[in-house]
């Protein structure tokens, strides 16, 4: 069972309190009516499926209820960093460099 730090509660808590919520930094086109079929397809279905640092969303569903972002290494299954929703996407080097 993973330990996950909720950036809002500022506490590291067991995975049981959290729910995965898909890849992060997928932008919903701001004016959907103007989005092309290809843009909408990409928004709906196209995901990076990386081996390594994966930017993803989690929700502290059995805690504060907030959605937040995380970078998790899909090889080691280790969280490299978590940060609030809407926060800037941290560079891979920054998070992997700071990880143990």
């Amino acid at each position: 069972m993973l330990l996950i730090k909720c950036p809002y509660c500022d506490e590291t808590l067991p995975e049981l309190e959290f729910a995965y919520a898909g890849e992060a930094h997928i932008t919903r086109p701001p004016t959907p009516a103007e989005a092309s079929d290809e843009e909408w397809r990409d928004f709906l279905f196209i995901r990076s499926n990386v081996k390594g640092a994966h930017y993803e969303r989690w929700r502290h569903v059995h805690g504060c209820g907030r959605f937040f972002n995380a970078v998790r290494d899909t090889v080691s299954d280790r969280f490299l960093v978590t940060y609030p929703a809407g926060g800037l996407r941290p560079a891979v080097d920054d998070v992997t460099g700071s990880s143990k």
């Binding site: 330990l3 009516a33 969303r57 569903v61 280790r78 809407g86």
Partner: protein, 997 residues
């Protein structure tokens, strides 16, 4: 009966005899015995039959790695456990143990014929033997495989025991209470850390229990052990015995299974049988020692052939000699010590057969002093004896040439192929291993967790080395946790260190093709099988493993892995590290399902949610059905009434007068705030801006992919407040989706979302007399047809309770839904039930609700839709706002696939014979004469007998269905093809006149 107990020897209490039975025969054990040690004390080696060849087998080991001696134990009804290792099961008074895989009995078994047919059952036989002819599969092969497969017999009765579950947080968890683990715990505890020390055995001590000769700091090993355990207890170390670390999970979480009852005759009442611990540790120290390897030679599986170290354990720990005349076969120094211990206790050692040409001088001379014949540079080429080994065939080997054989008579063979570090838990962490060429074994390399490995687990041999390394690793752990401490150094005399060489199968002068040299005892895999797998093209060790099943038995190859690897790498002509090692996975040893389930069984398997009115339904004889986690009244049968009859009565009563339904399980979400209407506009397909407070509307929720996710009636209570209802199963999902969009897409909107599902009890009254029943109770509101028309909502008082009253209908009749605070739900229900008597008010359940809504063609999300259905497919495109700039799913509704022709669309279906009710889920075809497999164009989603329509009705999703009105489709069923006509899904009151009463 022969007695192999050595008086005064061992840690068992020989003055306290315990009786138990094995295969219905009574035996006497000493307190502290395992089933294996007790049977060996009685001269019994034959304890089971092997899995595939049904060969007679006895214990080869003395611990949890035992592959052969698997027994069934039974304590009482439902308390049968198969495949228990006789080497682990402690004897208690009255224990009833049975052998496995035998018919009719252990000494004479018909399945032994498989042993003669071994040529047919070689590696990959599952893939080869049963391939042809195809028609044999059902009648011949599958029954044969099913009868032959499986170890032991699965219990069929319900387990009456209960199982507990605990969390534990500790600074340092030490796994293994041998010398390394004890010393590690001591260092960490003296540094002031919280330490937990666990061991799977019934007592702590590990190898010290088998080596009483050692002197630690001048004290005999067992005295030192007792003092050390007392000191650890004083330091606050939590010592847990009979506790197996079964798995090592992320971020230093280790699962422990603690056995609490399986070793006592009469367990305390209410004590759990096992307790599963989820431990989160700051540092984990793995001190699991090493496991001895067998040697691979023809007949190395006969009862009486066992590991030398295990024979030493039986002698020193249990006071049991494993035989009168032993031959020791070894490639490692350690077996010499076993031989010396046995000689001292009266077992004759016929010879020490060493595969090495030049074993250490001092060991050879010590053997000579004891008059033991040492045959260096020899090999073993066979054994004899049916139910017990009678002799060993040994040959000299010179320059790779196997010389003339000689036969050594014996009643036991003690073998040692060296030792393998026990790295199973380390392997769970995906830590990497590196091949150590000198020791011919894998050692731990790169860590992925806060984990340390001490003692024999990293290739250090001897008690002093283990104690020193353990103390050091304990200090390292303490330092990592910010509590530096110096590691203490202990001196050990009469320590037994040693080295050895590693082998493939031993050389032989006989045809290796006929040799039965076992590598994996539990799965009956021989050296020949492994070589055959390589010859047949398996190159990866993972393929060799699966083809031969080597290492795939319940012991996961604890003994066989390295021998298997050595043989495979020899056959492949590649060094071991290039061939690699297969992965160990949790659990370390077989673990009961009960321990994993813990409290989550029976009524506690998952929560059962009940409405405030549930108790009334129960008292009034309702039949219930589960709907997600809710228990809902399904129908209310009268005495002797069938479900069909009850549902038809409930439907009829509701349409003719009035029915009452507990709708409390409907999901409810309160959407409030200055931007509530904007939020609703963006979430739901419908337009909400013009909906006036006091009015309600059917709301449709899509995903951004355009497919229906949920629906429900939504009332606007004021400018900034909506009462949203969802499907019963969808409430949490919908709230999560709303929160997601609110928090992450539109964080600027000032909106608050609150789940109110359980705060409101909801009672639905439907039928032409519904108003008459509730009108007398309503205060502060005119509910006449004119003042309170269909799709109205208001706050008022009903029977004195504050209420939100909706005029809505899911039946097509005049309908009201009264929401009152949950605590008043039952009283309101009873009040209305009494008031309804003059109108023959009928309570109904979910089944009638389903029928009534289907008669009106109202969909149920998840039944009539399946996650690929758009509003237009479902025929409810009218609910989609046309002029809105955006809502969730809007853009997707214009995607090419979603506007293409031929999509499956929701329609009604009427069987042509007017009497046949279709099966829900039945597939639909256009041409029943086409060859199988037919092209399926859709399926039946809902089907009921309708009283109102006077016939069965159905709904279906059919490709291009909206364009097929009036066409005939076909539903092929096992007993014939049913013809049905495509219709509108509205079967009753299509004008909606009854809603307006």
């Amino acid at each position: 009966m022969t007695n192999f107990r050595v008086p005064g020897k061992g840690r068992v209490d020989q003055r306290r005899p315990v009786t138990f039975s094995f295969d219905d025969k009574e035996f006497t054990a000493a307190k502290g015995d395992t089933v294996a040690s007790a049977l060996l004390a009685n001269g019994v080696h034959l304890m089971g039959r092997s899995f595939k060849y049904h060969r007679p087998r006895g214990p080869v080991a003395a611990g949890s790695e035992e592959p052969n001696a698997l027994i069934g134990t039974r304590r009482g009804k439902g308390q049968f456990e198969p495949n228990t290792r006789a080497t682990v099961q402690e004897v208690y008074k009255g224990l009833a143990a049975t052998s496995q895989n035998k018919f009719p009995n252990l000494k004479f078994d018909i399945g032994e014929i498989n042993d003669k047919a071994y040529m047919l059952l070689s590696a990959g036989f599952y893939y080869k033997t049963f391939m042809w002819p195809r028609s044999f599969w059902d009648k011949v092969y599958e029954p044969f495989i099913r009868a032959a497969a499986g170890l032991g017999v699965s219990p069929t009765e319900e387990d009456p025991d209960h199982y507990a579950s605990r969390y534990l947080h500790t600074d340092v968890l030490v796994v293994g209470a041998g010398p390394a683990g004890l010393a590690a715990a001591r260092s960490a505890a003296e540094a002031g850390l919280r330490v937990t020390l666990v061991d799977e055995n019934s007592e702590a001590g590990g190898t010290l229990l088998s080596e009483p000769q050692a002197l630690i700091e001048g004290a005999p090993a067992w005295d030192w052990l007792a003092a050390e355990l007392a000191a650890l207890t004083d330091l606050g170390v939590k010592i847990m015995t009979r506790t197996t670390a079964i798995g090592y999970y992320h971020q230093n979480m280790v699962g422990l299974c603690e056995k609490l009852t399986d070793y006592v005759a009469t367990p305390e009442a209410n004590i759990p049988r096992e307790r599963m611990w989820r431990v989160r540790a700051g540092q984990v120290i793995l001190a699991q020692g090493a496991l001895e390897k067998p040697l691979v030679f023809d007949g190395n599986d006969r009862p009486g052939v066992m590991l030398a170290g295990s024979a030493q354990t039986y002698l020193n720990r249990y006071g049991v000699r494993v035989g009168d005349r032993a031959v020791v076969v070894t490639s490692h120094d350690s077996a010499y010590h076993a031989a010396f211990d046995l000689v001292e206790s009266g077992t004759a050692i016929r010879a020490i057969v060493d595969t090495r040409a030049m074993p250490p001088e001092d060991l050879v001379s010590q053997a000579r002093i004891r008059s033991i014949l040492v045959l260096t540079g020899h090999t073993v080429t066979g054994t004899s004896g049916r139910l017990r080994v009678k002799s060993v065939r040994v040959n000299p080997v010179r320059d790779g040439w196997v010389g003339e054989a000689r036969e050594l008579l014996c009643d036991c063979v003690l073998m040692s192929g060296g030792w393998t570090p026990s790295l199973h838990l380390f392997s769970h962490t995906k830590g990497s291993l590196k091949w150590d060429a000198e020791q011919q074994t894998f050692l731990p390399d790169r860590m992925t967790e806060a984990c340390l490995i001490a003692g024999a687990g990293r290739g250090l041999w001897g008690i002093e080395a283990a104690l020193t390394d353990g103390a050091e690793m304990g200090a390292v752990a303490a330092r990592e946790l910010g509590k530096p401490i110096e590691a203490k150094r202990l001196t050990v005399e009469q320590d037994r260190t040693g080295t050895g060489e590693s082998n493939t199968e031993l050389p032989s002068d006989l045809s290796q093709g006929k040799a039965r040299a076992f590598v994996d005892y539990q799965n009956d895999v021989t050296a020949k099988d492994l070589r055959l797998a390589v010859r047949e093209g398996m190159r990866s060790i993972e393929h060799v493993k699966r083809y031969t099943t080597n290492g795939m038995a319940t012991d996961q190859g604890k003994m066989s892995n390295i021998n298997g690897l050595n043989i495979a790498s020899d056959a492949l002509g590649k060094p071991q590290p290039q061939v690699g090692l297969t992965t160990f996975r949790p659990p370390y040893t077989p673990t009961s399902f009960g321990a994993f389930a813990g409290y989550h069984r029976g009524d506690h398997f998952e929560a059962t949610r009940k409405t405030p009115i549930d108790i009334w339904a129960e008292e009034n004889g309702a039949a219930f059905e589960p709907v997600s986690q809710w228990r809902r009244a399904w129908y209310f049968p009268r005495a002797g009434e069938t479900m069909d009859a009850a549902v038809q009565r409930e439907c009829k009563a509701t349409r003719e007068s009035v029915g009452m339904f507990d709708a409390s399980t409907l999901g409810k979400i309160e959407v409030t705030g200055p931007d509530a209407v904007e939020f609703m506009n963006r979430m739901y397909t419908n337009p909400w801006t013009k909906l006036q407070p006091g009015r309600a509307r059917y709301g449709l929720l899509l995903g951004d992919d355009g497919f229906i996710r949920d629906d429900g009636v939504i009332g606007r209570l004021s400018q900034d407040r909506f009462h949203v209802t969802t499907t019963t199963g969808g409430a949490a999902r919908v709230l999560n989706m709303m929160e997601d969009y609110l928090q992450t897409e539109w964080p600027d909107l000032k909106v608050w979302l609150t789940s109110t599902t359980e705060q409101w009890a909801t009672i639905a009254l439907n039928g032409p007399n519904a108003r008459k029943v509730i009108e007398p109770f309503v205060e502060g509101l005119d509910i006449s047809a004119e003042a309170f028309p269909h799709m109205s909502v208001a706050e008022c008082t009903v029977a004195g309770f504050p209420a939100r009253l909706f005029r809505i209908s899911f039946t097509g009749e005049l309908g009201f839904e009264i929401n009152v605070p949950a605590r008043h739900g039952l009283e309101l229900w009873e009040t209305l039930y009494a008031a309804g008597r003059p109108y023959d008010l009928c309570t109904y359940g979910t089944e009638t609700m389903h029928v009534l809504r289907a008669e009106k063609g109202y969909i149920i999300v998840g039944q009539d839709t399946d996650g690929t259905v758009t509003p237009f497919d479902a025929g409810i495109g009218w609910a989609v706002g046309k002029a809105k700039p955006d809502f969730v799913g809007m853009r997707a509704l214009k995607r090419p696939d979603l506007v293409a022709d031929g999509r499956k669309q929701l329609v009604g279906l009427l069987t042509e014979d007017s009497t046949t009710k279709l099966e829900e889920g039945a597939q639909i075809v256009l041409d029943p004469a086409q060859p199988v497999p037919m092209k399926m164009v859709g399926h039946v989603t809902s089907s009921y007998h309708s009283v109102a329509a006077g016939r069965p009705i159905a709904m279906a999703l059919i490709a291009g269905g909206h364009g097929r009105m009036g066409e005939t489709v076909h539903i092929p069923m096992p007993d014939g093809v049913i013809r049905a006509t495509v219709t509108s899904p509205v079967f009753y009151d299509p004008e909606g006149a009854r809603l307006a009463i």
